[in-house]
Point group: C2
Chain length 562, copies 2
């Protein structure tokens, strides 16, 4: 174990430093009439009010709120015993297990930003994030730990790697076992010690339009408000039973770890998307809410074991990444599932707008309903600033036709990109966060996306930066020029396709290009097909990716991504 005194304070994340760089005011301290907002108080309250209620279900295991709080206190106490102090980063790489949920409270309790890493990333990408975030500890699922063994030598800040035992997977005897080591740790009481609500709470790495992933910093205030907003939007009460189909590593599960806990509801954890298991859990646990990309919903609706009668109680499901199609909506209605379409980005703590239903919509036919529900909608109640603007930051007319960029501002916009003031300034130009997404404003105030940021593919709910894929392929010795675009795919919505011009005389095949990509980036980011050709260019020599996209989507109804 490393001597903790070696870790200097300068390395710790300072909220005020990031905040003041981003022009955010300083807020401090608690007093009689002021408490810094933090999701920690939601656990504090549910521990007190709902101590004996079921907080977590995972396989045969059930934790009541008192037990959940104990696990949170133990994880925090253990990490503290390892030397973790406020401002230190702690990384977690895990499916939606109870441990991952516990980490969503333990790190905030320690005021140590949580770095929850996408489980689908390639080992090299994980290493990049660990090093960039400067995380000191990694808590990792045994199944996800193995592929990282060869990477460990490249980790520059990680001092401790502990594996989180899970009854569903084999533990590795050579690993440090979290449960064994944490067993004797002091249990830290669940009590907010936050002195500044703009303290960073988590860093979520996201594929932007350029190069390497960027670390989106959430604050305690933003997460606490977003959780209240989710409670209001989803009508979460203590009867809520939330099924964890949405990955927790996605924008901290859209803040649902904190929202469901605030309501005193039940988290039903889930390692993987397995339709029969999902059907079983919905019935057995009387699930009331879950969130999933349309891809997952389609998988459920078309599964041979899909129930023939609607679920009871009715389910509320939020979906994003692509608008729900009429077929999907119909399929969901048959299952007793009410769909809410929403849209946001990691930079907005997940959802920023939702398609709030209006009176009369339920009287529309299937196509009409799909048309209105394909809009991304209106802001949440806790964060209302959203515009669609032209290049000079003027609002486009609210005519449902004039396109502009969607920009946001307010309490659920990130504090900034971690250790990247230039990228933060670029994203915040003009005093608004620039989504890069192109949309229209309808006369009734609902936005509808018309094109995504041109360099992002959303495949099965995951963002893929085409530029990142291109950069990987440029490392192939035979590749002279490459352009990656999203092409239609029945299951994933769209998938990356590479258009490659080979160096003169080179002999690379489609298979060898794809194989090369797999060695460098996550499998879901790799092109599913490769076409060798000359790339269309402008007069000045700029590659015209939009021409490639147009050709591929010809004759297909392009579903605008949400």
């Amino acid at each position: 174990m490393t001597n903790t005194s070696e870790h200097s304070d300068e390395m710790r994340v300072s909220g005020p430093a990031i905040a003041s760089a981003a022009g955010v005011p300083e807020t401090r301290g608690a007093s009689v009439s002021y408490d810094p907002l933090t999701p920690i108080v939601y656990l504090e309250r549910s521990l007190r009010v709902f101590g004996a209620r079921t907080a977590v279900v995972y396989g045969d295991r059930r934790l009541c709120y008192a037990e959940l709080a104990e696990e949170v206190g133990r994880m925090a106490g253990f990490l503290e015993s390892l030397g973790i102090r406020p401002g230190d980063r702690v990384a977690v790489l895990s499916p939606n297990t109870p441990w991952h949920l516990v980490a969503h409270f333990a790190m905030p309790l320690l005021r140590a930003p949580l770095v929850s890493i996408n489980t689908r990333l390639a080992p090299k990408e994980v290493s990049y994030i660990l090093n960039h975030s400067g995380a000191r500890v990694l808590l990792v699922d045994p199944e996800l730990a193995k592929p990282l063994d060869a990477e460990r030598a490249r980790w520059s800040s990680i001092e401790h790697v502990l594996e989180l035992p899970d009854p569903e997977v084999a533990s590795r005897p050579e690993a440090r076992d979290y449960v064994v080591e944490a067993g004797s740790a002091p249990i830290k009481p669940i009590r907010s010690e936050l002195d500044d609500e703009l303290t960073p709470l988590s860093i979520n790495y996201t594929s932007g339009t350029t190069g390497m992933p960027k670390g989106v910093v959430f604050t305690h205030r933003g997460a606490a408000l977003n959780a209240l907003g989710q409670m209001a939007a989803m009508s979460l009460t203590s009867d809520a039973v939330f099924l964890w189909t949405l990955p927790m590593f996605h924008c901290n599960g859209w803040c649902m770890p904190w929202a469901v806990t605030a309501a005193g509801g039940t988290h039903v954890c889930l390692r993987s998307i397995d339709p029969p298991e999902i059907f079983r859990l919905i019935g057995q646990e009387r699930v009331t809410h879950f969130n999933a990309a349309p891809t997952v919903l389609l998988m459920l609706a078309s599964h041979p074991e899909v129930p023939q009668t609607p679920f009871e109680p009715r389910l509320r499901v939020c979906t994003g990444g692509a608008p729900p199609s009429p077929t999907l909506l119909e399929g969901m209605e048959k299952l007793g599932i009410q769909i809410t379409h929403l849209y946001g980005l990691t930079e907005t703590y997940g959802p920023h707008v939702l398609c709030e239903p209006q009176p009369g919509w339920d009287r529309l036919d299937a196509a009409g309903r799909a048309r209105v529900l394909s809009r991304q909608g209106v802001p949440y109640v806790h964060s209302v600033y959203l515009r669609v603007v032209d290049d000079e930051m003027r609002d486009v007319p609210s005519d449902g036709e004039t396109m502009g960029e969607v920009v946001m501002r307010g309490n659920n916009v990130m504090l900034g990109y971690f250790d990247d003031p230039e990228a933060t300034a670029r994203a915040f130009r003009g005093g608004w966060f620039h989504s890069g997404d192109v949309g229209v404003m309808h006369p009734d105030g609902y936005i509808e996306l018309r094109d995504r940021s041109k360099d992002i593919i959303i495949s099965g709910g995951e963002n893929i930066s085409t530029i990142e894929v291109e950069n990987a392929l440029y490392e192939h010795p035979d590749v002279q020029e490459v352009a990656v675009v999203g092409v239609p795919h029945d299951h994933w919505g769209e998938v990356p396709k590479a258009f490659v011009t080979l160096r003169p005389g080179a002999q690379a095949t489609e298979a060898s290009i794809i194989e090369f990509a797999r060695a460098h980036i996550a499998r879901y980011k790799c092109p599913k097909s490769v076409e060798f050709c000359e790339l269309p260019k402008t007069a000045t020599g700029k590659i015209q990716k939009f021409r490639l996209r147009e050709r591929e989507w010809q004759g297909k109804e392009r579903r605008i991504q949400g």
Copy 2:
């Protein structure tokens, strides 16, 4: 009209000045990732999202959100044209009319603290509040204006008095008519210009334990968070239809003007408590929520015109001021009404705790249910700090038996008393707000009040300071010594009774004492009976009011007040 330039900036309320006196941190300014919290954004959003939905119902009149927003903008624009600037105070004296609701947004929009005055106060008390708050404008209901005519000469800061026309009451031709004057005012856009979320939003005068009423300062942040907390606790959605039985002048209607608007629900306004009209409105408007003191609920349950079948949809009703009795609960259940018991003070924006129901409570018999529901409960999700402490600020054991004082802290504790730093410091001693109420902490974290602050009577939901009543009676030339205590009353719960020792030779009668009181204080505060006697005292000569109370309550089951 007064020249507005004469009004100096020094007279304006400064949030930071009050805040820093109370040790509250400074918070400032908006940025990309930070917006000052304010209930104004809730109207801003509902205007955008629910513009055509019914916002207000009042008699035959209906306002959609666009119309409500227009009235808010007009009132703000008009007051601005009168010279009202941020920090100026504007007073309203009105029943629960749409104007009163409009004022709850217009003044916050102007950043001019709203002083909503108890409509049951005597003219002299109204004058005290107008003068103490330094209000520059009074908006008043014609019916309530008349008794104030003789007082106007005593008003030191009021520059404009405008009467709010109401189809249900006659306008007075001699008065300045708000609608006539505001008709041509510019309409201020609904857009928050707040630069500091701790800016005072309203000043609510409350009868404390000593002397004159004190002005409780709410902030924009506190009101915005409390509104979100109410939404969560009451499951307010855009289907909510809220009937205004609770006076808006009570802690700004427990923040419900902002909570219902945030949800995009409907406000059903009501001039007075008239059971047949309430039954009619519940049915016609499909009311889902209202709040009322047990006195009002009893009045409804025992009314000859009470419906014989439960309301559909079911109603959620919050009650406070006294715990619901088994009889009341039974009566409410027959009406399809689910009761939530809550407790708080003006100093906590209204409710601070609520009796969150636990699984299994619905299986208890009527007496058992009343027993658990007679507890005041647990903190709201947005403000969780509450303790029951002994004289040295140590927590009493959570045994449901050991009594202590209920103290609170957090985002729904007032900023302080307006222009009264000594009273603020006294109330905030030890870093907690002292309620003065005596309670126990149950093992499950629920508080239950065992005695009110000894010098407060709660009569029909209204606070009465016994000391204020005593002070009024001490002005009677025949009174040598007086003690006022609450005595049981079938309808009001309790009412004030005066124990008087006359000066030697004096001949005052019970009737003359009561008449004297009525000339000085609100009718509901006046003693309902007077007993002439020697007062019980301690060895050191201190009057033992508890002995008088004990005698009066002997043989009666004392219902502990909430």
